[in-house]
Amino acid sequence: MYDFKTINGLIELAQKEELSIPEVVILREQELSERSEAEIRELMKKNLKVMKEAAQKGLEKDDLTSISGLTGGDGRLLAEAEKDGKSLIGAVISQAVAKALAIAEVNAAMEPIVAVPTAGSCGILPAALLTVAEKYEKKEEEVIDALFVASGIGLAIAQQASVSGAEGGCQAECGSAAGMAAGAVVYLMGGDHNQLASAVAISLKTVLGLVCDPVAGLVEVPCIKRNATGASNALVAAEMALAGIESVIPVDEVIVAMKKVGDALPNELKETSLGGLAATPTARKIENELTLNN
């Protein structure tokens, strides 16, 4: 049995069986689905392909607009500024943020994306991972392995807490995505198990309490920009963990704390668009205008 419920459980299983984390995650899936390792790897390869295409489309298409007309084009704007040498924060983070914006904008434009873990947070993991992979010229197989690491982290979060904004707020959606991305990046850069666990913990800790308050109920404002900060959060956490900085609170305790914070959040702040940014005068005005246009 290659089952695990927690990040610690996943790491212990890998150590005990002398396997890598991707190997444990794949073996668990083999037991669950009766699919072969080759089939599972092929599915992940397909996911990676769609992630890359979404990033490219978001950065290159010059008329990318959401169905509502509210958003589009910001990823491209940032990527151009960075190319022109105008980045304040450095190439890696700037490019990752641009990709996260781009993929989330592609999502809002009703184009194909991979929900990781959800459609609303689909930009974070690919943006952080693809940017690092490009910079350090990682092979496709290594990136696919990192995606299995991200899945393992996501499974541990989903089983102990939630990855749904309606259940746990944005911390559960963009927060989980950032945790998955942080751990995957640490793995890709050769970090050890402790560094991986710390990266997930650090990234999740920084967004505890983040509410889900979509303007007019749409996956656009503030979701797209939260994908951007989610990608930077993942990279900052990975950077700290790879330098040897540890999380004082162990990762699984952070996940359980995230669950409790989510439970304590009022319904107004869990995707219902009744509170937070969704209840601001500007949001209400946008909502009215969209209804009139209908």
């Binding site: 669950l32 959401s66 434009a109 994306i113 873990p117 959800t118 499974l155 749409l218 656009e220």
Partner: protein, 223 residues
């Protein structure tokens, strides 16, 4: 709840923007297509709750219709669902509705097929692209489209369920879940039987031949 797969975490590949309002809506359309199983002439989508409030911004309208046309959650053609339906001569309309005691993301589909039969389906998108068909023609079915599902309408008499399971047993068809619903004793009852494997046409015929069975249909799972 079944165990989470890593494909629930990384994936599905889908058209944005929302797993519940877009991908789930496509799956509702896919299942409705399975249930009707005839060429469709006209469909009215009665939208409730959050579906009603945000259906255009989320593309729920195109997603429901595209699903009904048989497109999958990742098919870019969903964006052109209106044009595709028009080409096929299918009339469609979206109307607001208030339904009692249902999930906020719920739609009632009124589908008229080319045999002039109208089927009414109430379905909810319950999160992450998962859906539940709540009712078919006023009968509570609660099916999620993850299994091959046999639905029967039969006389509520002792022994009917045994006859059905005998037919299934001959092919070693394993029942994953089963429920029987009836309005009152001795009247018509519905059985919803979710199976691990598909039922052959021959077996479905054998079920239909059971004296007490009035109607039986099989609904294939949708991805």
């Amino acid at each position: 709840m079944s165990k989470l797969s890593l494909l629930d975490i990384i994936g599905p590949i889908m058209l944005g923007p929302s797993s519940s309002h877009t991908a789930g809506a496509v799956r509702i359309g896919n299942l409705a297509r399975e249930i009707v199983a005839e060429e469709i002439e006209e469909v009215k989508f009665h939208l409730h709750g959050s579906f009603k409030e945000t259906y255009q911004g989320h593309g729920t309208d195109k997603a429901l219709l595209g699903g009904l046309l048989g497109l999958s959650t990742a098919d870019p053609k969903i964006k052109n669902a209106f044009e595709l339906a028009e080409e096929k001569g299918i009339e469609f309309d979206y109307l607001p509705v208030e339904l009692d005691g249902v999930h906020p993301n719920t739609a009632k589909l009124e589908i008229k097929d080319r045999t002039d039969k109208t089927t009414t389906i109430v379905a909810s998108s319950v999160g992450g692209g998962s859906v539940v068909i709540k009712q078919i023609d006023g009968i509570n079915v609660d099916l999620n489209g993850e299994y091959h599902t046999l639905i029967t309408l039969h006389q509520d008499k002792p022994g009917v369920m045994a006859k059905i399971s005998r037919v299934l047993e001959e092919d070693e068809l394993n029942i994953a879940f089963m429920k029987v619903l009836r309005e009152y004793k001795g009247a018509l009852a519905t059985a919803v039987i979710e199976l691990d494997h598909n039922l052959t046409t021959k077996k479905l015929r054998a079920i239909k031949e059971i004296a007490e069975i009035k109607e039986a249909r099989i609904i294939k799972p949708v991805k």
